[in-house]
Amino acid sequence: MSSVQSFSGLWAYWLIIALMMVGLYIVIARDNLIKKVMGLNIFQAAAILFYVTMAKVTGGTAPIVPHDPAHPGGHGGHEILYSNPLPHVLMLTAIVVGVATTALALALAVRIHGDYRTAEEDEAVAYDMDHS
């Protein structure tokens, strides 16, 4: 497979990796704690998108069995192509985990701000150097 093909066929993955690195870069490069939390969120969102991409079946529809009065419990005999519902379900859990992490991180940031009067990591570290 040429590099052009592998790019065009896998563009969703390239996008996810790019998004992920943006998030990771923010976490590493920014000193502001709130920005770090936002970076972490972007990083998590990229992983969630990865699962959602994985669930896509070409031509597939939402995995809901259509209600047909003539055939209760069935779908009238014709085949329907569904997307894979499992990764979506998993991501509901991952989103909840993400929300909990963000809430906790922000709560800690508030406490840090209360103790150090700053939300900048470098200033907090410098404060500890001065007051140790």
Binding site: A47, M54, V97, D128
Partner: protein, 494 residues
Amino acid sequence: MIEKIVVLEVVLPLLAAPVCVLVRHPRLCRLFSLGVVALCFAIAVAVLLEVRGGGVISYQLGGWPPPLGIEHRVSTVNAYLLALVTAMALVVLSFDSRGGPPRVPEQRKHLYYAVFLLCISGLLGMTITGDAFNIFVFLEISSLSSYILVSLGGHRRAVLSAFYYLVMGTIGGVFFMLGVGLLYQVTGTLNLRDIAVRLEPSLDDRGTVLALALLVVGISIKLAVFPLHHWLPNAYSFAPPKVSAFLAATATKVSFYLLAMILFTIFGAPFVFEELRLQAVLLPLSILAMFLASGAAIFQTDLRRLLAYSSVAQIGYMTLGLSTANATGLAGGLVHLFNHAVMKGGLFLVVACLLYRVGSVHIDALAGIGRRMPLTSAALVIAGLSLIGVPGTVGFVSKWYLVSGVLERGWTAAAVLILLSSLLALVYVGKVVEVVYFRKPPETQPIDHVREAPFGMLAPTWVLAAAAVFFGLTTNWTYGVAREAAELLLAGGI
């Protein structure tokens, strides 16, 4: 009957946590959580007795058979971990810290026990579950609650350390989740045993190799494998000492189990250690951890920080055992899980005793404490000797099998390095013991008012110190089980 009981390991602490929130009475909550953990420990021991000799207990959650449903699956490997985690939780919770962490106001103390129980439940869940995504969920339950526990330390740095820990932990968690996603993409299943059967790892299959990389890096952050250990010294030295004792004794141990399970059961030793040659990375990193972290420990002036760096070094010994990929070495690594939990848990409880009576664990503040607190100091010496690996203590047992495993593999240089790194442990333990027993207290800070720690603190500390000697002399239980677990892992079973 025993198949049904196994699920209670997770369910009991998970349900007990909200009960603590409702009860709102700190002393009652403490007794209640102690009771729940004691029950979990009893179940873990019963389960371990049941599965020893190759038995397996499988519980299908909600009655859905695997691979579609989530399965809780216990063999010797994770029964060993269940017993370890519940035993350490029991000892640490029975430690009477006289009012709990200082930052928590009296009317919120009950929440501390709720979070503690959640953490235990997460750790037990990670150990017991047979479903890859379920591991991620429990991993996050235990991680989120341990960030909270760390942030309760008295110093303002505790909150900052908890924040670092959260950032690192979340990155590790997301890596793990991506790895699980790739495995699902390759095999189409989330059941661990089913993944192991369907996965045919090969170096040409980039998806599989990437999945392995993501899982190993993700878990290594949680395990604090050198050089991903940066969060650990801060988290352990600023957390409340009781929390440090618990996390040092359990959290990294469960991560080690996960790493071993991923490498041996899911990907299989032939692929990881013969085709991919992971030991080419794992062995140098383990040796670097042993030397650099022990070296860093020597220069610490705070006892907690010293112990935290020593933990990073000890994790190096465990991963060294893992990289030998033979039964003796792996059993050495697994038995070191238990041994390190006992001695490091004991040492952090000693720290808690010292903090309560002396008010500081700065090395200079401990001068001459050996005379004022003889029992606490004696526990410190016993656990310290064990950390060095003196014969008759648990530390010797693990180092003996690690060295044998490494020699079996033909790595003579690594065996020499293990022994040399023990000398570094001798230096940092010796430094503390010298100050505690032989140095005169400073005239500016008289220690005449310092008394021996109360019984409620001494008893759990001495249980661990005694265990460090007892299991150093009788190895049937620890090494016997670890050996069986190692052979099971090498055969690719769980």
